[in-house]
C-alpha cells in the first residue's frame, strides 16, 4: 500500500522534509516511485505566481517540440527550472534527459478572457502536449497551472530526492503532497503515480478504489476536458473533487457526501437531508467503494484528509499552528513534526473530513452529520 505524506506550512519548506517522512514509512512502500505536488511556491516562481508553469519530463527533442508548439499557440517562455542531474540515476530509475518546470506568459489574446475560459484553455494546452508526448514518447506532462510544480519519477523516493537535488530553494513550497509508491495492481507508468492534478485540485490516495471502472466510465463520458487518462484507479478521486467544486459549485465539505453518502438513519436526522438526498441520488455513480484514505489540496491551498465509508486505511493529521502534516502513518508524522502536541493528533473516521485552511492555524474536523455550509 502506498504511503502518503503532506505538509501545509506558513513558511516555505523543502520537499525533502516530506520525502524524509516517506522514508520513515518505508516498510509500507516498495520504493517503486515518488510523486510530488508543490504549490504556494517560494523562490523564483513566486514572482510569477499568476502565470502557468508547465511541469514534466522531456527528451531533448521533446523540449524542442514543446517549445515549438507553445510558441505556435502564442505562449512566451519565461523563467525555467530544469533538473538535469549529471550522475547516474539510482537503481531502478531510468536516465531521463530533462526534468522541466517552465513558466509561460499566455498569449495576449487571452487577456480579455474570463477566468473560467482561461482555465479550460490551460487544461486543453496541457492535454495537447500530453497527447503529443504519448504519441512520440518524448514528453510526459503532469501539470500546467499557475503556482503548481509537479515532479514524478520511478524509483526510491529518498534516492530520487537526492539525485534530483530537491533540497534546493527553488522548489521550496508552502504546500506539499508526496506519495511513496507501492506498485500493486497496475504496471508502473509515470501518469499512474500520485498525486493527480487538475485545475488547481490535487489529491493522492492509498488503498484501492473498487468502483473505479463505473466511475471512470461516468467521468470520462461527461465531456469535461481533462477527465481522461486514468492510468490509476485513484485518479478519479481528484476528478470527483474537481467535479464537486467546479461542476456542482459545492464546497469541500460536500465532497465526502458525494463519495460516501450518509446512510438512511443519519440522512433522515440531518438538517440538510433534502439536498443530501438529492446529491446521493444524482451522484450515486460517484460513490467510491474504497478502502481509501484521500489527502488533497484545493485551489485556495486548503489541505484535507477523508476516509471512505469502510475506514480500512490508516490516516493521521497533526502539527502546530503554522505547520501541519497529513500522513498515512503516525511514524511519518513523528518524523516530520516531532515537536507537536501529540494529544491533538487526529485520525479521521468514516464520517470525518479533516481540514487545514490556508491560514494554517488549526485542524478543523467536519463531520458528515453536521449541517453543510451555506450553499450558494
Amino acid at each position: 500500500m502506498c504511503r502518503l505524506f503532506s505538509l501545509t506550512s506558513s513558511v516555505p519548506i523543502s520537499p525533502m522534509r516530506a520525502i524524509e517522512a516517506l522514508d520513515v514509512m518505508k516498510e509500507g512502500h516498495d520504493g517503486s516511485g515518488i510523486g510530488l505536488f508543490l504549490t504556494d511556491l517560494a523562490g523564483p516562481f513566486q514572482d510569477s505566481k499568476h502565470l502557468p508553469i508547465l511541469s514534466g519530463i522531456f527528451t531533448q527533442s521533446g523540449v524542442l517540440r514543446m517549445e515549438e508548439f507553445m510558441s505556435s499557440q502564442g505562449f512566451t517562455p519565461q523563467y525555467r527550472l530544469t533538473l538535469a542531474p549529471q550522475d547516474t540515476p539510482p537503481p531502478g530509475t531510468p536516465k531521463r534527459e530533462v526534468y522541466l518546470s517552465q513558466v509561460f506568459e499566455p498569449p495576449s489574446a487571452w487577456n480579455g478572457l474570463a477566468q473560467e475560459e482561461r482555465e479550460v484553455l490551460l487544461t486543453k494546452t496541457r492535454l495537447a502536449l500530453r497527447h503529443m508526448g504519448q504519441a512520440e514518447e518524448d514528453m510526459v506532462v503532469f501539470s500546467f497551472w499557475p503556482d503548481v510544480l509537479m515532479i514524478k519519477e520511478v524509483g526510491d523516493p529518498m534516492e530520487i530526492g537526492r539525485y534530483l537535488g530537491l533540497d534546493r530553494e527553488e522548489v521550496y513550497a508552502g504546500r506539499i503532497l508526496a506519495q511513496g509508491r507501492q506498485n500493486t495492481n497496475y504496471g508502473i507508468n509515470l501518469y499512474a503515480c500520485h498525486p493527480f492534478f487538475i485545475q488547481g485540485v490535487s489529491t493522492m490516495t492509498n488503498g484501492e478504489n473498487t468502483a473505479f471502472v463505473p466511475i471512470k466510465e461516468y467521468l470520462g463520458s461527461q465531456g469535461v476536458p481533462g477527465y481522461e487518462g486514468y492510468q490509476s484507479d485513484s485518479e478519479v478521486f481528484t476528478h470527483i473533487l474537481h467535479f464537486t467544486l467546479k461542476g456542482l459549485g459545492l464546497s469541500l465539505e460536500a465532497y465526502k457526501h458525494v463519495i460516501t453518502p450518509l446512510q438512511d438513519d443519519d440522512m433522515n436526522a440531518h438538517p440538510d437531508r433534502d439536498v443530501l438526498y438529492t446529491m446521493k441520488q444524482a451522484c450515486r455513480r460517484l460513490i467510491i467503494d474504497g478502502p481509501n484514505c484521500v489527502i488533497g489540496c484545493l485551489p485556495d491551498k486548503t489541505m484535507f484528509m477523508v476516509q471512505d465509508r469502510k475506514k480500512l486505511r490508516p490516516g493521521i493529521v497533526g502539527g502546530r499552528p503554522g505547520l501541519f502534516a497529513f500522513s498515512s502513518e503516525a511514524c511519518g508524522l513523528d518524523a516530520a513534526i516531532p515537536e507537536r502536541d501529540k494529544t491533538k493528533d487526529f485520525q479521521p473516521m468514516h464520517l470525518d473530513t479533516a481540514i487545514v485552511s490556508p491560514d494554517c492555524q488549526e485542524v478543523r474536523i467536519c463531520r458528515q452529520t453536521q449541517p453543510l455550509p451555506h450553499l450558494h
Binding site: 488503498g207 473498487t210 471502472v213 463505473p214 446512510q263 441520488q281 444524482a282 450515486r284 471512505d308
Partner: protein, 553 residues
C-alpha cells in the same frame, strides 16, 4: 390384438413420448391417488388379464409318481393397475405429481432417452402448441461468467457476514448532478425516484397466477418491506389489480403494469382517487421475453368470474392482447404519450417506464427514452422470459438473449454519459439453472440497475414443477397441478398463501446473503456494483469480446 386395429399416423407408443410412466406392481396399493392428481389425465386405471401356468411338483414326499399323474394347468386372473395413455392430447408432462402423492413411490415419470416423436403431433386441429413457462434450453451465458477481480492482498476482502452493506438501487429518472441540485434549489419538478431492492418480482398477472399465489407473493413482499427492511417490489403484470390492494397501504410495494390490452385499467383508474399510497411505479408493457413482438394471451380456461370481473370482460373467453398499443401510431409516439399520460394520472409523482422484449430495436427505444424527460427507466426482457401462454415456436426460437442486449444498451448510455440516469431493469433467464445470485450479480455488473425474476419465484416460492427440460409447462390451460397458475379453486386450494409468503422471504434473505458473498470479495459494500465489468470474466473468447469483459481460461 387384431391385425387391422385402428393405427393412425398419430398413434404413438409409450416409447415415443418424452415422458414415460414407470409403475411398479409390487409396491402399488391401488389407492388411486395418482390418477386423481394427474393434471392431464395421462394415466388411468387399467384392468389387465394375466394367465398363470401351474405345473405340479415332481418327486415330493413318498408318492414318487404324483407329478406324472397330473397335467400342468393354467388359469386366468384379472388385476388392476395403472396404464399410461399415448394419445397426444393426454401425453404425460412429467410433472411427477403422481409420484408426489403416491404413498409407496410406486409410480414415477421417466424422461425418454430416444427421440421425442410426440413433438410431431402436437398440432392437432392445426393448432400449434402453446405452453407456459420454459424455453426448453438450459444454456445460459450468465452461468459461465465468473467474478474475478478479487481483492485479497493490499485490500483485504470484506466480511460478507458482518460488514455493513447498502445494496439498493434507484428506479426513476435520475437527473444529472448539476441539474438535480439546480432543480432542488429552485424547487422545480424533480422526476420521482424510488430506492428499492435490486431484485424485483417481475410481471406475472393476477389472471395468470392463482389468487392464492398472488396473495402469497404480496404477503411475502409486505413482510420483507415491513419486517426486514428490504424494499422489494413486485409488478402486477397485465390484467389489473385486486381492488382492495389498490386501496391499501401496500400499494407502494407494487408496480402496476399497463399493457396493450388495457385489461383491468378501468378498475385501476377508478381507484386512483381512493388510493392511500402511490404505486411504486407504472410499467408499460410493449413486449416480453417469451413472445417478442406478440401481445399477451390469457386463455379461456383461466378466465373465471373473478378474473373476468377484475379485467372487465365476460368470463370464459380467451383474452389476447394486441402486439402493440393500438391507439397509438408508432412506437416512439406510443412510448412518449403513454409515459406522459400515466405520469399525469398520478400527478407526476410516480415513475413510469416501458418494458420491451430484448430485440434488435432495444437500443432505438432506449435512445428515444434518454431524450424523454418523463421516462423513468427501461425494462428489457430477454428471450428466456417466461409467460403464462406463448407459442412453443416463439418461446424456443425468438428474441435476443439478455446479456449482450443489456450490455449494448448500457454501453450506449455510457457513450451518452447517462449511465444509471435511466435505469435498465434486466430480466429473462435469471436463475434458470438455480444460480440466482450469480446471474443477477453478473447482470448488474454488465450494467443493469435492477433485475427482475418471474419463473424463479414460482419455482422457489411455490414449488412450480416446470423446468428447462419441458417438464410440466401447462400453466396456460389452467390445470397447474400445484395451484400456481390455475383459477380453479380445487387446484389453487392446494397452495397455502402463508407458506408461499414464507418461501418468498426465505428466498430473498438467502439471495441477499449470496449477493453479499459475491460483492464483498470484490470490495463493494456501499453501492451496487452497476457496470463493474472489470470484475467479470468468461472462458469463451467471443462472448468476452461481445460483452467487453475479460477472457479467462
Amino acid at each position: 390384438m387384431p391385425a387391422n386395429t385402428a393405427i393412425t399416423p398419430s398413434t404413438l407408443s409409450q416409447r415415443d413420448l418424452p415422458w414415460q410412466i414407470d409403475w411398479d406392481i409390487q409396491t402399488c396399493t391401488l389407492c388411486g391417488r395418482c390418477t386423481a392428481v394427474c393434471p392431464v389425465n395421462a394415466i388411468e386405471f387399467g384392468t389387465f388379464r394375466k394367465r398363470t401356468l401351474f405345473t405340479p411338483p415332481l418327486g415330493l414326499s413318498d408318492n414318487r409318481s404324483q407329478g406324472l399323474q397330473h397335467k400342468p394347468s393354467s388359469s386366468s386372473s384379472v388385476y388392476y393397475g395403472i396404464r399410461q395413455r399415448t394419445d397426444p392430447a393426454y401425453a404425460c408432462i412429467g410433472c411427477a405429481m403422481c409420484n408426489m402423492v403416491c404413498p409407496n413411490n410406486a409410480i414415477r415419470p421417466v424422461k425418454s432417452e430416444s427421440t421425442d416423436l410426440l413433438r410431431f403431433h402436437r398440432d392437432r386441429g392445426g393448432q400449434p402448441r402453446t405452453r407456459g413457462g420454459r424455453r426448453n434450453s438450459g444454456d445460459s451465458v450468465l452461468d459461465q461468467i465468473k467474478f474475478m477481480r478479487i481483492s485479497m492482498l493490499t485490500d483485504p476482502a470484506l466480511d460478507a457476514g458482518r460488514h455493513e452493506f447498502e445494496l439498493r438501487t434507484l428506479i426513476g429518472r435520475v437527473l444529472p448532478p448539476a441539474e438535480a441540485l439546480k432543480t432542488q434549489r429552485e424547487k422545480g419538478w424533480m422526476p420521482p425516484v424510488r430506492e428499492i431492492y435490486p431484485l424485483m418480482i417481475g410481471s406475472m398477472s393476477f389472471g395468470a397466477l392463482s389468487p392464492n399465489m398472488w396473495e402469497g407473493l404480496q404477503m411475502g413482499v409486505a413482510y420483507l418491506n415491513e419486517e426486514l427492511g428490504m424494499p422489494v417490489r413486485m409488478c402486477t403484470g397485465e390484467g389489473g389489480c385486486p381492488p382492495r390492494l389498490l386501496r391499501s397501504r401496500f400499494m407502494k410495494y407494487v408496480i402496476l403494469q399497463i399493457a396493450s390490452g388495457y385489461f383491468g385499467w378501468d378498475e385501476i383508474v377508478h381507484a386512483i382517487p381512493h388510493m392511500k399510497e402511490d404505486p411504486c411505479a407504472v410499467e408499460i408493457k410493449y413486449g416480453q421475453g417469451a413472445k417478442p413482438g406478440d401481445g399477451g394471451l390469457l386463455q379461456w380456461h383461466k378466465v373465471n368470474q373473478l378474473i373476468a370481473a377484475i379485467r372487465g370482460v365476460p368470463p370464459g373467453v380467451s383474452l389476447p392482447s394486441p402486439p402493440t398499443h393500438q391507439t397509438k401510431y408508432s412506437i416512439e409516439e406510443a412510448v412518449a404519450k403513454m409515459i406522459q399520460s400515466m405520469s399525469m394520472a398520478w400527478g407526476f409523482r410516480v415513475p413510469v417506464y416501458p418494458k420491451i422484449s430484448a430485440s434488435s430495436t432495444s437500443l432505438a427505444v432506449l435512445n428515444n427514452l434518454t431524450r424523454n424527460p418523463y421516462a423513468a427507466g427501461l425494462a428489457i426482457d430477454g428471450e428466456d422470459g417466461g409467460t403464462g401462454a406463448a407459442y412453443n415456436v416463439s418461446m424456443n426460437h425468438m428474441g435476443h438473449p439478455i446479456a449482450s442486449n443489456l450490455r449494448d444498451c448500457y454501453l450506449n448510455l455510457v457513450k451518452l454519459g447517462k449511465q444509471n440516469e435511466l435505469p435498465i431493469i434486466a430480466g429473462g433467464g435469471t436463475g434458470k439453472n438455480g444460480n440466482l445470485a450469480a446471474n443477477a450479480a453478473a447482470l448488474i455488473m454488465l450494467g443493469a440497475s435492477a433485475v427482475q425474476i418471474g419463473k424463479y419465484v414460482m419455482q422457489a416460492a411455490s414449488g412450480c414443477l416446470g423446468s428447462e427440460g419441458d417438464r410440466c409447462n401447462i400453466c396456460n390451460i389452467g390445470r397447474c397441478p400445484k395451484g400456481i397458475t390455475s383459477q380453479d379453486p380445487r387446484l389453487y386450494r392446494r397452495l397455502d398463501p402463508e407458506q408461499v409468503a414464507e418461501r418468498v422471504v426465505d428466498m430473498y434473505v438467502g439471495f441477499d446473503t449470496e449477493l453479499k458473498k459475491i460483492v464483498a470479495p470484490l470490495g463493494r459494500s456501499t453501492s451496487l456494483p452497476i457496470g463493474m465489468s472489470d470484475a467479470l470474466g468468461i472462458a469463451d473468447r467471443s462472448a468476452a469480446e461481445r460483452l467487453q469483459i475479460k477472457y479467462v481460461v
